[in-house]
């Protein structure tokens, strides 16, 4: 993908001011996102995935409670470029939900329970496109149809609690797509759903992406989902990118011990080897962001750690196949069997 990236994030950092001191939730995150591409963001709970994406949407609390660093250049439909982190709140509001949309994990809390879903979708269309109420409602009906809600036009008058979790997530997607965004940020959109419904939603997202050429940042901690939809993967740990690259090499030949650990933690269905060997778990838990280890953040849990690892943080360096790895031992480990 040689074209200019839609979104270019450089050195994004997000620090919360807390009672116990500054809490670095996201540290020096850089990535590019091109049209039609799906970037999966994976990592354990608390690794900063949601905060990073909320920062791009400028949905984190304002300074001084949060300090943002770095830049995020977004290429709008009219060809203009904006730094999302420096944009005036007004201009940001115009982009948000229009050119960049977001869907959240819990569809019930992100839909307003007292408004009919048709009105909620139409509202976004009216705000961003100035359409008439009637036209907006008609468009809302089309969208619901497009996201596979049976009997869509009649459902316009339903309230969120009338719908199942999967249906609500479809409504959220319809809302996010109301203005054909160029970038969609999906924060664990299927985590709360059953696998059968998750499969439907993933299929739907793929179709829509195919039709609109929209770029997707897909946050998940389910590596199966990553293998299913991602073009590229970014693995986060303690606010840092620890491995980034094209999906297949990262998922089949992970270099960073943390990525490996994640992949080996997942049980696989194979009738021949079922349950014969224990899973290789990653010991311990994620570090407390207020007391990060001085060197490699993963060192306390890393089976390959050496004294040097704990001394200084390793850099994020290229490791072939267009991939970046943050581990001082990746060369040695690349030769060892996974």
């Amino acid at each position: 993908m040689a074209q200019e990236p839609l979104l270019e994030v450089s050195h994004l950092s997000v620090t919360f001011a807390t009672e116990n001191g500054p809490l670095p939730a996201v540290r020096d995150v850089s990535f590019r996102l091109s049209a039609g591409e799906t970037l999966a963001l994976v990592g354990e709970s608390g690794s900063g995935k949601s905060v990073a994406s909320l920062a791009l949407m400028r949905l984190v609390p304002p300074a001084p409670r949060v300090s943002l660093g770095g830049s995020a250049h977004f290429c709008a439909a009219d060809g203009s470029r904006h730094d999302l982190l420096a944009l005036a709140p007004d201009a940001m509001r115009r982009l948000r939900g229009n050119e960049i949309s977001m869907i959240f994990q819990e569809p019930m809390t992100s839909l307003n329970p007292v408004h009919r879903i048709g009105e909620q979708i139409a509202e976004a269309i009216i705000f961003h496109q100035g359409a008439s109420h009637r036209a907006a409602l008609a468009r809302a009906g089309e969208l619901l149809e497009k996201v596979g809600i049976p009997d869509a036009h009649r459902r316009l008058s339903a309230f969120p609690h009338h719908l199942s979790g999967g249906m609500r997530q479809r409504v959220m997607i319809a809302m996010a797509l109301a203005c054909t965004p160029r970038v969609l940020i999906a924060d664990e959109p299927t985590t709360a759903l059953d696998v059968t419904v998750q499969a439907q939603i993933l299929e739907l997202l793929k179709e829509l992406q195919h039709a609109n050429g929209m770029a997707v940042v897909f946050i998940t901690h389910n590596l199966g989902v990553v293998a299913e939809i991602a073009d590229r993967v970014m693995v986060m740990y303690a606010g840092l990118i620890v491995e980034e690259g094209a999906m297949v090499p990262v998922m089949t030949r992970p270099r960073m011990p943390y990525t490996r650990g994640l992949l080996h933690s997942v049980p696989r269905i194979d009738p021949e080897t079922l349950g014969s060997a224990p899973l290789t778990a990653i010991p311990g838990t994620v570090p407390d962001p207020l007391h990060l280890p001085p060197g490699c953040a993963f060192a306390p849990r890393c089976a390959h750690a050496e004294p040097a690892c704990a001394a200084a943080p390793p850099p994020l360096e290229p490791a072939g196949e267009g991939r970046l790895v943050r581990c001082r031992r990746w060369r040695a480990l690349a030769e060892a069997p996974a």
Binding site: V195, R268, P271, P278, A281
Partner: protein
């Protein structure tokens, strides 16, 4: 009781809930568990999978008598416990324990780890002297690999995985024979999930536990269980030894569930069976085979009666009238 008798035997179990009612509301009945029968041999781990709302938790809770079943019988160690009252159940309780899904809701926020893990002793063996109790608590913590340094901390000071360990320690301290684990790893990150699964496997071997392991994740169930039962709308639709099940999935719902589970290996792309729609409302399940509304193999005959659970191969029972839809080994 012979040595070969199952530890737990459930026959024709039904658990219904009345919902609605009030002044004008219509009263409805949710048939959360409908005519479920199975037995778990001593030392066996039976897995229970299905979508949310299929009745897994309701079944698990009924089996350890956290509820009063609507109909059917539950035998534990050969004894019918279906209708036993609170007092009569009390001496049996220590031998059957429960692990909860939500590691945040299942620990009393105002109690320390010492009190939580020691609660079973305080309740069941109040005569035990403090030193003996402390010893047992320390031992239980050691089994779940938690440090005694944590004894006087409160639950909110722990991560999800650590809390789940505390819950397991509480369940194990009375050395139960039977353990129901209701999605014990669903709320955890994958890496922590693996820690807890390994721990459960280790304690199972150490204590010779019999388990009913509930999960919505087929891979997790496959990893841990000897036999697997698949539930759909309150009924078991397929039950088989794990290996036999994964070699040959016979029920169209099991097939869909299996094929929908994403696999973390991009070189393994399986054909997808996409189910349409959601789980039907348990208030108004379809007539005949409840899976009919989403089944791609449905025939007109499927609407007439609930298919019986029939043995399609030794030890492999399936609730489907068709015999020609089995799905070969996956992968």
């Amino acid at each position: 009781m012979t040595a070969g008798a199952p530890l737990v035997e459930v026959t024709g179990l039904r658990q219904w809930f009345r919902v609605g009612g009030g002044f004008f509301g219509r009263q409805d009945t949710v048939r959360a568990v409908e005519d479920v029968s199975f037995a778990i041999a001593r030392g066996e781990v039976l897995g229970l999978v299905g979508e949310s709302g299929s009745g897994k938790s309701t079944l698990g809770r009924a089996v350890v008598r956290m509820s009063v079943p609507t109909a059917g019988t539950i035998r534990f160690e050969g004894r019918d416990i279906t209708r036993l009252g609170r007092r009569a159940l009390r001496p049996i309780r220590p031998r059957m324990q429960f692990i909860f899904q939500d590691p945040f809701a299942s620990l009393n926020p105002r109690m320390t780890v010492r009190q939580i893990v020691g609660a079973p002793l305080a309740i069941q063996r109040p005569e035990l002297d403090p030193a003996a109790r402390a010893g047992r608590v320390a031992e239980a913590l050691q089994t779940v690999e938690l440090s005694p340094a944590h004894l006087d901390r409160y639950p909110h000071e722990f991560s999800g995985g650590q809390r789940q360990r505390i819950g397991i320690a509480r369940a194990l301290i009375m050395e139960p024979r039977f353990l129901v684990a209701d999605e014990p790893v669903s709320a955890l990150d994958v890496s922590i999930q693996a820690q807890i699964l390994n721990l459960l496997i280790a304690v199972r071997q150490k204590l010779g536990l019999t388990m009913l392991f509930i999960s919505h994740d087929l891979a997790v169930v496959g990893h841990l269980c000897d036999r697997v039962a698949v539930m759909y709308l309150g009924r078991i639709v397929e039950i088989a030894p794990t290996r036999a099940l994964f070699r040959c999935l016979r029920h169209p719902y099991s097939q869909a569930l299996f094929s929908a589970a994403p696999v973390a290996d991009p070189t393994l792309r399986r054909p997808r069976i996409l189910l349409t729609g959601d789980l039907p409302s348990p208030l108004a399940p379809p007539s005949g085979c409840a899976f009919r509304s989403r089944c791609r193999h449905a025939l007109p005959a499927c609407a007439t009666a609930v298919p019986p659970l029939r043995e399609a191969a030794p030890g492999h029972a399936v609730r489907c009238i068709r015999d020609d839809v089995a799905l070969g080994p996956p992968g």
